[in-house]
Assembly symmetry: C2
């Protein structure tokens, strides 16, 4: 297997982008990544794209070929992958495999979702397809309800509080306020979160990531060729993926994401690293409780201590471990197919040292953690400054 | 890159399977493939699945993880790929890449679609997402209309006749009548095709592949390990993929599928073969004109001569080149995500010599040709008896 490097990154503004459609968003991100890599489309030999529900959200399938078409990349092989909210991370992994295998020599990996062109009810229904349609969505369990059950159980087992969950949102908004690409660029307070409208008790509006439009892209080449394209390439040291049951009721625990634990184990084994090696991490905070569980399942904190650690500021920028410097899904926004790729874009910026006001000091090794549904898929990567 | 072999194959009955859902179909195919490979689920380390529009057709995304869940394969990495009607072929290619890369040592590749649980209008709309939604479907151009334009132009440029197109359907129904898994197992006549209801002139109902339910699966391992699982493994000699514009109006030709021509060129170059080496081929006959164009674009016949060759019987079982022995999409049925994998299952059976009444004599090398939409994706494979 060949080693793989990221040599270009780019993203669109995340947010309610009413003036731009699916095609505009991904082309903007893709062109930025190509320009950043100083690579011509003619030198690419593969395109991989993660997007979750374009069939329901914009009436379009076959989206990888569509992107190749509108980027002028035909007849490039173009592959869409989908694993709900982990579609972007999975696209990165598939692109990584394409380069590692030797079947491709330069690929662009994109993630995109256009979510705000349909009504909220239709978005909830489309996102509900990430869970077990027959056992969850059909019975009325949309995602806030599913994560609310996890949160309640976490509170019961470990004494996690609503204020601790609110602290996740406050930190991520603070980071997002330093990110010009973020959906939300306003700081919020614990009090605002606590007083925000209840969605599914104990989760309030400010515990939930927003419905966003957006796209992100990276260019991958074999590490041995990386310096041809970039003066500061980023190596993808390891890639890991795991699955679990779609339905929550089939799991042994409501307070751990088993797929995260499995992917973490494989990832650290492949990279020969531990949590101590990680300087900066983007975790999947679709709801505030999800960030707390991720920090515990990856092993940054013991099970049950993620909420307290967050409230104590240990996950803030340049604290013990810098978590979600982009603003995370909560602050930066969550165009579902784009999120996993955006995580890699943010880590690449951190490792290059170009993250500006949200820069983690001397960041050398970073991690991405992307979850599909309530944890039926987890895709993780470790990135390193070359 | 490692060489890759198919060591197990299986499929469900294709058809209007009202008593079986999405999960039942793919599990039936998957279990058959695992049993055929004599492999335990515990020995698999990857699952790849092609399915086009489960979000619209059964309200479910995240389908690879769902299949892993219901097959009891968690925490296996589970990846869905989508390229419209080429989703199955693309899943095979992605599984091939997974083994070739060395990242996986034994994977199951499935394709599945459950199409008959929604009304015909909704199916047309879901399938329309394979084309350019903004420039085609939104304007009323569903797929019969798009292929009808190609057929009309082919008739004008080359004198292809409606009777020649009908001959494709008659041949494929004859082959399907010998296939117990086929959606249609009845022979038809040229006269019946000619007198069938007009859908989009010149295409009549019997020129169109049906809306079907079904699934197919194969097990892949490195060729060097293949004999551990199967006494008659099938090597995947080459895999190729190409893209083109989604919208027909952006193409230089209406009578050629450029992605097929590009994929063919790469495929034969990788395999160091020509059409003369191929004993049996499954081509993508979503409409009868599509089979004629495929035979020409791959190079079995000169451009414009595919219709005449078919009418003369040169593509019949054990004639000059045996085309669509399974019955093709027209006779065997077209559960869109399943089709590309079913093509590989049929070729594997042919190369093993177990195809019964539809066996091609001394078949040693076979080919699959899977198209997405009106040709925006083409995925092709060459398979060989080891």
């Amino acid at each position: 297997m060949r080693k793989v490097a990221i040599v270009g990154v780019g993203m669109s503004k995340f947010g309610e982008e009413w003036n731009r459609g699916f095609r505009d968003l991904i082309i903007e991100a893709g062109v930025r990544a190509l320009e950043d890599a100083n690579i011509s489309g003619a030198d690419l030999d593969g395109l991989f794209c993660g997007t979750m529900a374009p069939g329901n959200l914009v009436g379009q399938e076959h989206t990888a070929a569509l992107i190749a078409d509108f980027m002028g990349l035909n007849p490039i092989p173009a592959t869409r992958v989908e694993a709900a909210c982990a579609s972007g991370g999975l696209a990165l992994r598939t692109g990584y495999m394409a380069i590692a295998s030797g079947m491709h020599d330069a690929v662009v990996v994109g993630g995109v979702e256009k979510m705000t062109d349909v009504s909220g009810g239709l978005v909830s229904e489309a996102l509900g397809g990430a869970g077990d349609q027959e056992w969850e969505l059909f019975q009325g369990a949309t995602f806030p309800a599913i994560y609310a059950m996890m949160a309640r159980r976490h509170m019961m087992e470990f004494g996690t509080t609503e204020e601790q969950m609110a602290a996740v949102a406050v930190k991520n908004h603070l980071n997002a306020s330093k990110n010009k690409y973020a959906h939300f660029q306003n700081e919020i307070t614990i009090d605002q979160v606590m007083k925000s409208k209840m969605v599914a008790s104990p989760l309030k509006v400010f515990d939930c990531s927003p419905v966003s439009d957006g796209a992100a892209a990276v260019v991958l080449v074999p590490l041995e060729n990386a310096k041809k394209y970039s003066k500061d390439p980023i190596e993808i040291v390891a890639s890991a993926q795991a699955s679990d049951t779609l339905a929550l009721h089939d799991r042994q625990s409501l307070t751990s994401i088993h797929a995260t634990q499995e992917a973490t184990r494989k990832l650290f084994s492949l990279a020969n690293m531990t949590t101590k090696d990680i300087d900066v991490v983007e975790v999947h905070d679709c709801f505030t409780i999800a960030e707390i569980m991720a920090l515990e399942d990856i092993g940054f904190f013991k099970k049950g201590e993620g909420g307290g650690a967050t409230a104590e500021g240990r996950t803030a920028l340049n604290a013990e471990i810098s978590v979600n410097t982009s603003g995370g899904l909560k602050g930066c926004g969550h165009p579902v197919g784009a999120t996993g790729v955006k995580q890699a874009v943010e880590i690449a910026w951190q490792l290059r040292g170009v993250a500006g006001a949200r820069q983690v000091k001397d960041a050398e090794i970073g991690m991405t953690h992307n979850v599909g549904g309530s944890g039926a898929t987890c895709v993780m990567h470790i990135l390193k400054r070359v």
